[in-house]
Symmetry: C2
Subunit: 207 residues, 2 copies
DNA sequence: ATACTTACATACCAAATAGTATGTTGTAAA
DNA sequence: TTTACAACATACTATTTGGTATGTAAGTAT
């Protein structure tokens, strides 16, 4: 019987992801510029020695957050779930309702982790801008792939411009998510969602 | 001949608006949390004595900015210009092309002054959230008024749900503006704008 | 002209900030 | 078991932060 890996007290990778997790929550709540390294560390049991051993600067933490945490979120919340939907349009609409539609007003006010950073940091730091832009690209590409599968499987019109449609979908998602921060009202969501749904239904082949 | 008001060296109202103007530019570039009182004052010739004589705290400056500067922007850039358009839908499409479509990629990356603050500050400060929300309401109401005029003048369908349409227009504007921060590409704009235009054209009576 | 108010300037402060220099100890290879 | 390094902790610093206490002179009423 193999020894159960004696719980290490020092684990570079685990510590790194602990810091990233704490940073994600703090930044999601207060923005990147509104958060201090000390605040992040207070959420973990760690100290500055650990932090700056992992990340040369606070900005580098932000970069890693975008590259790793946000990318994983896009994958696990959108790209991968969409694979289990026969008709990608139905999948997109369903995911939208799950992630936004079922939110309480208080949750709506938190917005989208990715969009929050895009709006806050694009102007402020060029590297941030690049990395955030890359995640949007990744997301759009994932949606486009799903749409292409939908065309092949006969659910979507062969005339659909997949790139344009994917851009629209991601833009609308981010825009709606952001708009609800200022108007956290389920009625507003339903009203805007129905426009979105009607638009997406034009992508589908008529039954 | 009345004496031309001897250029006062001290003018409470003028100083206030000088600070607000400088603050607007600094905050537009770096966000509210990314800007210090000192940076704002460096843009004017003023010092902290002037600043804290006008505003009790930095937050109060932010509140005033939203209440006054952003509100004026909404009025002068959207509400008032729309009055000179016979068909409000044509007016909205034209203003969209003027303010976003004609922007360079560098300008696109700056985003919408209102939306930037909504995304950054809604989570951070409840009063900010309220005041920003009020400006969105003001904007939506102004658009709705314009749409109602369009119905009366026979340009828009009488069946149009003006409130829902106004919400959609403002949301799409903010969403598009925000999306272009990460994708500052005129082709992306054109692609998304065309979806917007087609949607708005469904509001119009067929010629 | 005088006095009084207030619009600002100057000089400060305590707290928070990102980052560093220097320890200390777990841990894995030898 | 020893050694050596890597994974942290601790203590510190220089700078920046929002804000204040106090001084000064411009503008206005008398």
């Amino acid at each position: 019987m193999p020894k159960p890996a004696a719980a290490k007290t020092r684990d570079l990778a685990r510590t790194r992801s602990e810091i990233l997790d704490a940073a994600f929550m703090e930044i999601y709540a207060n923005g990147f510029q509104g958060v201090s390294v000390d605040k992040i560390l207070a959420r973990t049991g760690l100290t500055k020695g650990a932090f700056f051993h992992q990340f040369p600067t606070k900005l580098d933490l932000g970069y890693a957050l975008v590259d790793e945490v946000l990318r994983d979120l896009i994958s696990s919340r959108w790209i991968e779930p969409l694979r289990s939907y026969d008709n990608p349009v139905k999948g997109i609409l369903a995911l939208m309702n799950i992630f936004i539609g079922k939110s309480t007003p208080a949750q709506m006010q938190c917005g989208c982790p990715l969009n929050n950073l895009v709006q806050e940091m694009t102007n402020v730091d060029a590297v941030f801008a690049e990395k955030l832009s890359a995640q949007i690209d990744f997301w759009v590409a994932g949606i486009e792939e799903a749409l292409k599968r939908g065309i092949k499987s006969g659910h979507l019109k062969t005339t659909l411009k997949t790139k344009e449609a994917a851009l629209y979908i991601v833009m609308f998602h981010e825009g709606l998510y952001g708009f609800l921060k200022a108007q956290p009202d389920p009625k507003v969501y339903k009203s805007l969602y129905s426009v979105f749904r009607q638009q997406l239904e034009t992508y589908c082949v008529s039954d």
